[in-house]
């Protein structure tokens, strides 16, 4: 069964450093998402991406964040200058081409980002 993959599984970085979290969505999916879950808190939407542009972003997704689909398979989340409060589990998700609210979003296993 096809699945979403994410690398690395755990990333440790120093405050102020740039990090890139990588995701490989399911191959025939066209809608891509990033969510994050701070320890002990709920999963929060960050951004959705379709047709090489952002469809929607939350207030969390400020200028420090960016997303990119650099080639036909990868989908990345970049944090330019990490803060302590960026420490969280980051989940990538993808869904099929219909873009309906009934679409199932398939999630990757997550990348745990620790900012020191």
């Amino acid at each position: 069964e096809p699945e979403v993959t994410q690398t690395p599984s755990h990333q440790v970085t120093q405050m102020g450093q740039e990090v890139i979290l990588r995701c490989v969505p399911i191959s025939n999916h066209l809608y891509f998402y990033w969510y994050r879950q701070i320890l002990g808190q709920k999963v929060e939407f960050l951004v959705s991406f379709y047709n090489n542009e952002i469809s929607e972003k939350s207030e969390i997704f400020d200028d420090q964040f960016s997303v990119e689909r650099p080639d036909g398979s990868n989908f990345t989340l970049k944090i330019r200058s990490t803060k302590l409060e960026d420490s969280a589990m980051y989940f990538c998700a993808s869904s099929s081409s219909t873009g309906q609210s009934t679409d199932t979003q398939y999630f990757g296993p997550g990348t745990r980002l620790t900012v020191l």
């Binding site: 808190q41 709920k42 609210s101 999630f107």
Partner: protein, 115 residues
């Protein structure tokens, strides 16, 4: 804005007894609702989803949920708990406004299954 409320942060049951995880939603129009499960150190896995077809939805591993519009509820049930069901469960609503199909998660219910 759409939202979901999971009424219990922790539920503990004995193996072989029924499971009930409660969820209420708030939506200004017909929502799509989902239950996802997260096992320790694993990603989020879809259990089931409601998409305005049948109000009783069957999912994987014997779970089911019933959409009740009059009560704005979407509770998750299973007749007989298994040790492997121990995990965190999230009730989720889908919001298409803004064109992005954003998912809004509840705070989660940690299910503990005891022998």
């Amino acid at each position: 804005a759409q939202s979901v409320t999971q009424l219990d942060s922790h539920v503990s049951v004995s193996e072989g007894t029924p499971v009930l995880l409660r969820c209420n939603y708030s939506s200004s129009y017909s929502p799509s609702l989902f239950w996802y499960v997260q096992h320790p150190n694993k990603g989020l896995q879809l259990l089931l989803k409601y998409t305005s077809a049948a109000t009783l939805v069957k999912g994987i591993n014997g779970f089911e949920a019933e959409f009740k519009k009059s009560e704005t509820s979407f509770h998750l049930t299973k007749p007989s708990a298994h040790m492997s069901d121990a995990a965190e469960y999230f009730c989720v609503v889908s919001d298409l406004r803004g064109g992005g199909n954003k998912l809004t998660f509840g705070t989660g219910t940690q299910l503990k299954v005891e022998l």
